[in-house]
């Protein structure tokens, strides 16, 4: 039986680990107003480099730590130099998307090199525990605490007493003014990325030793926890990040003590959402402080969309419609069905992210809500599948809008963080709400698709059904965008202060967009549930959210035709080139990086 003291010690130790990640995020946000979504990947790389050092090279512990810190710092420097510096003059969303792409690439490279199977990372310290009060503490706990304190001290000395440290602080407070003092901002960025990566890498190593296990899923978790801690402490606030981390560690540890392990992350994300909504500048921000996101300015690259004549669209639609009449393989139809389902999700996201400028990173949650609703309606209430799918769409529209509405007042990066967290919360609620969702077991035996009592079993009929649904949704969305409502949406995206000045009610318009988008995504999830016949809390994950975002950017943010084209391209091309499944995510990451760098307006242009 663990005592409260044990939970406290555990919370503080885990908090220390988070702090190493969060401090790096805070430094980076401070100087470049960027949430580095690749921070968790560096942590992952650190853990695996540590594994190589410990298990294969048998390095002693101090050397292991140094090797990991140096190697991770080098990765950080490479990311800064080749991933982000070329984007300095592009739109503000570009670096954010680039870090997402980089994180996909790094995670996949680790996975391809080391396989996705978990590995044991032995702690290099003796496994003894000392009694302290009513709890126990081990050498590894002390090591983690020691590394945390030492890093904090070194960082303090660096920021306070070195010239480069002064430059970092000055840049964080006023970039232009710092440049006018002669500060080379590129060197500052380099320093900050190097330090952040070294700390993140060491954090990964320590966590691996603490749990005696490493696997590639660590990456996203670490990014999320680091972001939570950083935002709780106040974005860009380094001491705040440390306190936020310790707080997060304690909240999680006590939460686990009371409710059980599967609730750990739920507390983390609830804490984030509460802080984002109530104190978006973090717990310690002074009241007068301006919000860290500028309130106006273009987050999305404006461009002139490619005009496609109606007849060309009609011809394309007709070709796809009659495709099953030709002798195409089952495999081709299957691939295109996936593309249509992804296309519906992309339609939803392109409306929300492109047209009203809320770049959502948790869109898969809408799929999950639609899928579970439709599955449960048809299974438990015997609702006909066609109606159940519509019910899924409506539930996604309602619940999705309700969940996102507290963060309507956020902008830019903060929307992305909030949606990411809400996405995780949905998945965790599904995992824990066993009486309704059947928890980790998932739902099996979901009835197949059917329409007016006829089961759609053949690939051809499923193909037609999903294609037709997507086209109808696309036509509706096209109508919407050319209407007065569509213009209001874009006005809000471009400048919500001005839009408010014209008397537009932001919340109402944002809600409308989420309702429409939620419906499309929910329908997609509903169809998927009946197609797969089995779903669980991991069926619709962050990877799909990011894939949808890549599709939308590929097609051109806000562009309806682009969303469908992007879906066909991203689902279809890897099939055409017969790229093995394990390389696909890598390809998606690279596509995202290339797009951001060379064609941020996408194939068909933003609208």
């Amino acid at each position: 039986m663990s005592s409260w003291l044990d939970y406290t010690i555990n919370g503080l130790i885990v908090g220390n680990v988070y702090a190493l990640v969060a401090v790096g995020l805070a430094l980076i946000f401070g100087v470049s107003r960027l949430i580095n979504f690749a921070q968790g990947s560096i942590y992952l790389v650190g853990a695996y480099i540590g594994w190589v050092a410990v298990v294969q090279l048998h390095t002693p512990l101090p050397l292991t730590i140094i090797v990991v810190a140096v190697a991770a710092a080098i990765v950080g420097l490479i990311i800064e130099r080749f991933g982000l510096r070329p984007l300095q003059n592009s739109v503000r969303i570009a670096p954010l998307l680039a870090t997402i792409g980089i994180s996909f690439v790094l995670d996949q490279l680790v996975m391809l090199t080391f396989s996705p199977n978990p590995r044991a990372l032995p702690s290099q310290l003796p496994d003894v525990r000392f009694q302290v009060g009513g709890g126990t503490i081990g050498p590894l706990d002390l090591l983690i605490a020691g590394v945390g304190l030492t890093s904090a001290l070194l960082l303090f000395v660096f920021l306070r007493y070195s010239k480069l440290g002064w430059a970092v602080r000055a840049t964080a407070q006023d970039r232009d003014a710092a440049m006018q003092m002669g500060v080379d901002v590129n060197r500052v960025n380099q320093a900050v990325f190097g330090i952040a990566a070294a700390l993140g890498g060491v954090s990964g190593l320590l966590v691996g030793m603490y749990y005696n296990q490493i696997d590639t899923a660590m990456s996203l978790q670490a990014t999320l926890k680091g972001v939570v801690a950083e935002v709780v402490g106040g974005a860009g606030n380094v001491p705040g990040a440390v306190i936020g981390s310790l707080l997060l560690g304690l909240v999680e540890s006590y939460g686990v003590a009371v409710f059980g392990t599967s609730y750990r992350n739920l507390f983390a994300f609830l804490l984030l959402v509460v802080v984002l909504v109530l104190r978006p500048n973090g717990l310690f921000a002074s009241a007068r402080q301006a919000p860290p996101e500028p309130l106006t300015g273009t987050f999305i690259a404006p461009s002139r969309p490619v005009r496609i004549p109606r007849w060309a669209l009609a011809v394309a639609a007709a070709i796809f419609a009659i495709l099953p009449l030709f002798p195409v393989s089952f495999y081709v139809l299957q691939t295109l069905i996936n593309a249509w389902l992804l296309g519906m999700l992309a339609l939803s996201l392109t409306l929300v992210a492109g047209t009203i400028g809320q770049v959502s990173l948790g869109h898969a949650a809408l799929l999950a809500i639609g899928a579970y609703t439709s599955a449960l309606l048809s299974l438990t209430l015997n609702v006909p599948v066609g109606l159940a799918i519509i019910g899924g769409g409506l539930m996604s529209a309602a619940l999705g809008t309700l969940l996102i509405s507290p963060s309507f007042r956020l902008r830019g990066h903060y929307v992305s963080i909030a949606t990411l967290a809400i996405g995780e919360i949905v998945s965790l609620v599904i995992l824990n709400w066993e009486s309704v969702t059947r928890g980790p077991i998932g739902i099996s035996g979901i009835p197949p698709l059917s329409l007016f009592g006829t089961e759609l079993i053949s690939p051809t009929s499923i193909y037609w059904f999903s294609f037709a649904v997507m086209v109808v949704l696309a036509l509706l969305q096209g109508r919407l965008l050319t209407s007065h409502l569509g213009r209001s949406f874009r006005a809000i995206r471009d400048d919500d202060i001005a839009a408010r000045a014209y008397g537009l009610s932001l919340n109402r318009y944002k809600s409308l967009a989420f309702i429409f988008g939620g419906f499309a995504a929910g329908v997609s999830g509903g169809i998927a549930a009946h197609l797969y016949s089995y779903i669980n809390h991991e069926t619709f994950n962050t990877q799909q959210s990011i894939l949808a975002l890549t599709v939308v950017i590929l097609g051109g943010l806000g562009n309806v035709v682009g969303a469908m084209l992007g879906a066909v391209a991203l689902v279809g091309l890897p099939e055409v080139f017969r790229i093995a499944a394990e390389y696909r995510i890598l390809i998606y990451g690279i596509v995202l990086l290339l797009l951001v760098r060379f064609r941020p307006q996408g194939l068909l242009g933003t609208i």
Binding site: K163, W166, A167, R169, A170, Q173, D174, D176, A177, A178, M179, Q180, M181, G182, V183, D184
Partner: protein
Amino acid sequence: MTASTPEPLLALSNVNTFYGQAQVHFDLSITVARGHIVCLLGGNASGKSTTMKIILGLVKPRSGDVTFDGASLVGLTTPQIVRRGIASVPEARRLFADMSVRENILMGAFVRNDREAIAQDLDKMLTLFPKLGQRLSQRAGSLSGGEQQMVAMARALMSRPRMVVMDEPTMGLSPLYVDRVLELIRTINQEGVSVFMVEQNASLALEIAHEAYVLQTGKIVLSGSARTLKDDPRIRDAYLGGAEAA
């Protein structure tokens, strides 16, 4: 152009600047003679701050040239330009609010490495701006506007510049501080530092300037020695025109 002697310290020639599609400067030409105070006057949104940004390399001109001491600044980064000997007192001061006053002033010496001389210069600043002595360890953000202006000026001088560019140094200050700032600009100038300043308040600026230019929606409409401009009725007209355009 103006009554300037041999080679000017700073020269903008035929500068055209754009923000996206919008043109902000139309064939702008300005010279600052060595040792002079030159003032750029103009109403709101006439392009004054953008002129500062062009000099400092924060905004790049689409065409035209900027030379300092005979060498072109176009294509250099801001830190490189600062190292050539130009220091700035930005619009609205732009102190590093969470750093101490001492740290702010010392940030001005970022381009220098001579520790002892920097320490001496810090002492010198405290004789020039005696009020700052008691404020050294205070957060810069907690100072009054006038005090912040003093810090911004001290910070600029710490790089031992050959020229200081100032964007509306008297903006938002109480009358007492306005006089003090103008007096200090004159003192700085007498120690051999050339000054290029942007002002909305023409009568004040013309008190201390050697030459002045009047900018109206991106074009120089009037220029000459401060003494002649002071009595020129057109300055009032140009001014009102500029204000209307804003």
